[in-house]
Symmetry: C2
Subunit: 328 residues, 2 copies
DNA sequence: CGTTAGGATGCAAACGTTGTCACTCACTCG
DNA sequence: CGAGTGAGTGACAACGTTTGCATCCTAACG
């Protein structure tokens, strides 16, 4: 193993100079710096992370806690965060908690001491999660609470766009098939829908609630939607929309002929199914990137002058699952 | 921050005893051990990972390198590996290389010094990857090379099952829409198919090759499949199958009426599309689990008596995309 | 030419843990 | 009753890095 001592000997300087030349190049004279970097490269020197962390007290890494990596939503955020962390020369430890609040607290407690900060992606239980942090810098992703710093998407804006679209097609009664009540996204979407329909006095909202955010949830919701008399429906996510379409087909109803459907997330299944789903898209890689940037700002010096991250745009992607309402 | 010194003082012993009581409890007298563990719990002591790694030279963590976390295949393997690592009290650092062989080598070089071993789940460039390891223990996942330890799925067995199924339905000419040539899975599937058709002298194989492992690849392949005169087709993965079905539909051909289609991987989209895909499934979580176990064995003491991991079963899931061939 | 400021570098002390070595007993066996 | 044994514990030296402080030297100024 190559250490600072080897590099120092090769470059004819002391170990302090090696350390400085690599960490704070501007504090070392140019010729010396070049000799050191050359020697380091030549010998294939790689600083020992453990020693560095131990001495300096910073790890140069963030933690990212997600409930389910197999969910493309979180996978995409994770990819964006990891790419950005790499660009910044930081590590990123991703931990999957399997949607288990207990594992979540454990993961955070485990991660906290060996990272410089934590990205919390949709925790189930914010309270216990925050407790496990022990004061470590944190950024919440796609949710906010307690005035903790966060990076969120503009769910309300997305809902407004969905309602505008449906209203323009002629729909006047719109249902919402909601996800878990504990989910921040679900709450924001409900609020966003309410605000949206209030803007137009000719559109009504029917809230249906608390379905599992999977295909089965949509299947379970379908009959309620039909009974509600709505001609269009917005679902908690694309999977729910797919389940809904499936159950409607089984009942002999067709989308979008008999009912228009808007999904959420634009996960990549949305364009694969028949009919391709009209859905709402946020740039999730960008969410991951910004979360890392924001955490870097929070964890770095000068926390006081901290610019808030504005909610990220949510865009409507129109495909084949929305159309004019059926003629009376 | 609570250190061994604090615990030692509280328990009235020396720091060596604290370290021993926690790491190797059987080397410490029971009453002392209890005093130490009680004190540790009381003070909320958490060993400093960095110090431990620095001194002991082991990190208690593995690395997992995957080309794309957003791909459900790798996400599932990662979940399995992470769960198993947690069970064993190990960390797991997951790195996404964005399918970039260069980033891959870099990630490995970065990971190697700070882990006890690496799980390589990446069909890109085995050569340069292995070079970057610098002798660190490694287990290849879903590929093998150079006699390196590996955990693989029984792709050949899966292909045999697919061919048996199609032959039983009456198909006599089967096409294979292949993925990237550099992919180990693709090579094993081709071989498996050749072996399978050789068992039955009444089935022919048409190999089409090297399509992108995405929906677009399937769309590109569709016309070649039709021209080949095959009545059934096996695709590199489910996405390719979906693209294929899509392009066939655009040409007025229906699946399974005009052509039977078998996907691979049973990713969760397989059951969502219309028609639901007949596909081949391996238990990918189990792949992740076994990979961790195997790496633990390889990295641990006594490497000589190392049991090889037999290929994991690949099972045929029959859904709606396969049927009798069209009547002549 | 003398003084001083400040840039560049070296010295040495941590950081918290593990593991080697040595020491103390209490016990057993001859 | 003495020597030997081994379990239990403590003292202390690393591991490789960062960083405060001391030191040296050059250059600029009076």
């Amino acid at each position: 193993m190559v250490t600072v001592h080897d590099v120092a000997r090769a470059a004819g300087v002391s170990i302090s100079t090696v350390s400085r030349a690599l960490a704070t190049p501007d504090r070392v004279a140019a010729p010396t710096r070049d000799r050191v970097t050359a020697a380091a490269r030549e010998l294939g020197y790689r600083p020992n992370r453990a020693a560095s962390v131990l001495r300096a007290g910073r790890s140069g890494a963030f933690g990212l806690v997600v409930p389910d990596l197999a969910n493309p939503f979180f996978a995409t955020v994770a990819k964006g965060a990891q790419a950005r962390a790499r660009q910044r020369g930081l590590g990123l430890f991703v931990v999957d908690t399997d949607e288990d609040p207990e594992l979540e607290a454990e993961a955070i407690a485990h991660l906290a001491p060996q990272t410089d900060g934590i990205l919390l992606c949709s925790p189930r239980a914010v309270g216990s999660a925050v407790a496990a942090l022990e004061g470590r810098p944190v950024v919440l992703v796609n949710q906010n609470a307690d005035g903790l710093p966060s990076v969120v998407t503009d769910q309300a804006g997305g809902m407004l766009r969905a309602v505008e679209h449906l209203r323009a097609l002629g729909h006047r009664r719109v249902a919402y098939v909601g996800g878990p009540r504990s989910s921040w996204s679900d709450r924001r979407r409900r609020e966003g829908l309410r605000e949206a329909v209030e803007l137009f006095d000719d559109v009504e909202l029917v809230e249906l609630g608390d379905f599992r955010p999977q295909v089965a949830g949509g299947q379970a919701a379908a009959d309620l939607v039909v009974a509600s008399g709505a001609t269009a429906v917005v679902t908690f996510n694309d999977l729910v929309a797919i389940g809904l379409v499936d159950r409607l087909r089984a009942r002999g109803l067709r989308v979008p002929r008999d009912l228009s459907v808007v999904g959420c997330d634009d996960s990549y299944v949305a364009s694969l199914v028949d009919p391709a789903l009209t859905t709402l898209r946020a740039d999730l890689r960008d969410v991951g990137r910004r979360a890392v940037d924001h955490l870097a700002a929070v964890a770095g010096p000068g926390r006081d002058t901290l610019a808030e991250v504005p909610p990220l745009d949510v865009e409507l992607v129109v495909r084949a699952s929305t159309a004019l309402p059926p003629a009376r």
